[in-house]
Symmetry: C2
Subunit: 445 residues, 2 copies
């Protein structure tokens, strides 16, 4: 492996050669590799990297590794990294590091960049403003194509953010966009005004990141300009950041739907106490809520004692109700997240869930009836009671599971909390209530 | 609204004006708008669109709308759309349409394009080959920068896929990549060989789409070249397609984790019978499995009859076990999907879950004990029995929930099926077994 080979060269003191091989490697691979090494080896290798690569490798490090590097290297070295780092990455760094590290970073940042960083830090978390970078190419609409290309050559740093150029007027209001490919394919004497796209999509600094991600998805964008309240261009958001946001939002939904407090940290890197803390609160709430279901059993104690066989079917009815409700809730939560279902669809959803639940419920009830009779677990009258309760439970579960996420969103809650665990707790109580009521009535107890 | 204004113009027969306004609109907005109109209005508006916009609007239509359009318009019109459509969109269309529509599409496709389409159709579903487009810019390494730009101007169509150019040798083997921005920023007399990046990432035609998406995420890519077994460049995949793949994969996981057969279709557009079919099979499997838990209750019938109060706590123990297991399973399934946890981490995971579950379990047990005593639901000995069972249940649930997804992946199953519903069913049985065993022993029954 090239990694072992490079370590060998370093061991023999052949640093120039090692540096040469290192610079052939992909920066992401280097970052992953260094994360696995001992602290002293990391520092030797990191210092060997060419300046521009060092900044890129640094930006792919984990939080812990970034902290270690900044704490371990000299001010002069930090300065050269921070100078090469994208501004939005620097802002992320400052937001995530402890105070002493932030101090060391800011001490080695130029006055001008510090000002820009402070501006970016003012945007609320999860807003478009906090996501954007202010490194982009802006052009004037009176420019000719060759002038524009000349201006890009002069000012444009080598980065993805120049794939699309932005045309602004004298008050920095955004007037149009031009993909750089269009500049290359156009006649050098064309005027930007005539070739720019004016029906572009933009977002506002305070728009929520989930909204921004949905816009990227809907319009198949690679970058989107961010404007302030006066429609002045203040930054751009690129799709690589959006891919991360999409995964973060999905992870958050997965966690919430499993009744876990969401966290950005990787499982294996999270401390046991933190993991326990993220889980125990919801478990506690749900445990206490489940005692309500116990109370229902208590209320129907006599029914259960006179027909003990009814007890055997409690787990099946509870589990099936929970599962049926979780199915509906998941479909609706996902539909809401992808903007495929809107709040006004609530009656359509309820009607649809009603029909689906009748179909599913009848199938399960029939099979269940046959199964009880065949296995001779109970008489036909008990089997019928269990099966009718099953049908009711599935209908209840699916209508509740389908509507609660929409209602949650209506009152400003995250629909993802109305998922399996909470739905199960609610449906359990109702299902057992239905089961015992039907049983008392049918069996005349 | 501009939409109403355009409809007004059409109503008055001012078609040229309507067309003019239409061409100012965003193609995605037009597609969404037309989806809501009556069939005859859709056709009028669609025919008014300039040729290149029509193809773009068409590519943003839903499957149903695309089918309707192709069935309704003349061969000549179809030809002009297909000519403008990206090749990968045409392939998607052919894969999704019914036979008669496919016939109409292929009849209006040039011989040359038909050959290319047939090649692309040969790649397996969900492979890199089936995702890629073959429209990209390839350059030779001996070219000078100005020659390269000239060649792009001559051959490069106006599309996102020219943001990165690919340098190949005489046998079409991929030797390097050059972002177009680098071409612009370089000296015109530079030779491509000297400025191209050679430590690029590529994927193989048969790589799975989930793997490709993970590579995009890991390396922050905007596009990736696809090579065949001989390392020859055959296509590229761009990030806009990857964003869709990521959401599809996430949706699939959400569905599987809620015990639903995954489907690509939007909830509101799916038929009731299809929704019922996707849900009933797993519900049935889980319902039958839950009878096992019933059997455990049956086995401990005498214990329950002599101490009826034990029955009240069945729902709470079952629910908490299910929730605790679902939490662990979700964290691990998500970690596996994001490549943050690998198969070899199984013992680390089990050890971590053991520690977390002891912390969480003890908290829940203590609170539960206090609650039962305070609410005077049962004696201290019963409260202790319930609380110890709770601790056991949480430990069992978390260790099982944490390890089953990894084991599933080890034997080639999708870890997502080892989520809440299945874990709940397994844990329920074990939890009640533990509960009744502890109760019989403590109470000396």
């Amino acid at each position: 492996m090239i990694q072992d080979f490079i370590l060998g060269l370093i061991h023999q003191g052949r640093l120039a050669e090692a540096r040469n091989w290192l610079s052939q490697m992909n920066v992401v691979d280097i970052a992953y590799w260094l994360e696995e090494l001992d602290d002293d080896k990391i520092l030797v290798l990191f210092r060997l990297l060419p300046k521009d690569m060092a900044a890129e490798v640094f930006s792919h490090f984990s939080k812990e590794q970034q902290e270690f590097i900044i704490e371990s290297i000299a001010d002069r070295e930090i300065k050269s990294i921070i100078d090469e780092l994208f501004l939005d990455d620097t802002v992320d760094l400052i937001e995530e590091m402890p105070a002493n590290v932030v101090k060391k970073v800011l001490r080695n940042t130029s006055e001008e960049r510090r000002k820009l960083i402070n501006q970016l830090l003012k945007y609320p978390d999860y807003s478009a403003g906090s996501l954007m970078t202010i490194e982009f190419v802006d052009l004037k609409k009176e420019m000719r194509v060759d002038q524009a290309l000349e201006s890009i050559r002069k000012n444009g740093v080598d980065k993805e953010t120049i794939n699309i150029c932005y045309v602004i007027d004298s008050s920095r209001k955004l007037e149009g966009i031009i993909p750089i490919r269009k500049l290359i394919l156009s006649d050098p004497s064309d005027i930007l005004k005539d070739i720019m796209e004016t029906n572009f999509i933009s977002v506002h600094t305070l728009d929520d990141q989930e909204q921004v991600a949905n816009i990227f998805r809907k319009y198949d964008l690679l970058a989107v300009p961010v404007v302030d309240n006066e429609e002045r261009l203040v930054g751009i958001i690129t799709i690589d950041d959006i891919v991360d946001i999409i995964e973060e939002e999905n992870t958050e939904d997965f966690h919430k739907m499993a009744a876990i407090q969401p966290s950005d940290e990787e499982y294996l890197k999270t401390k046991v106490t933190a993991l326990a803390k993220h889980r125990v609160i919801w478990l506690l709430v749900l445990m206490i809520s489940a005692t309500f279901t116990g109370t229902i059993i208590q209320r129907f104690e006599e029914v259960l004692q006179s027909v003990v066989v009814l007890t055997y079917f409690i787990p099946m009815i509870m589990d099936t109700g929970g599962n049926a409700g979780a199915q509906s809730a998941t479909l609706i939560i996902r539909g809401l997240a992808l903007d495929e279902i809107s709040l006004s669809d609530i009656f359509k959803v309820i009607w649809k869930e009603l029909k689906v639940s009748i179909l599913v419920g009848i199938s399960l009830a029939v099979i269940n009836f046959a199964r009880i009779i065949i296995m001779r677990q109970a008489s036909a009258i008990i089997a019928a009671t269990v099966s009718v309760s099953m049908l009711f439970t599935v209908i209840l579960a699916k209508v509740i599971g389908g509507s609660l996420p929409i209602l949650a969103k209506k009152i400003g809650l995250d629909p993802a909390i109305m998922a399996g665990p909470l739905i199960t707790t609610i449906v359990d109580a109702l299902a057992l209530l239905a089961y015992f009521s039907i049983a008392s009535w049918v069996l005349g107890l």
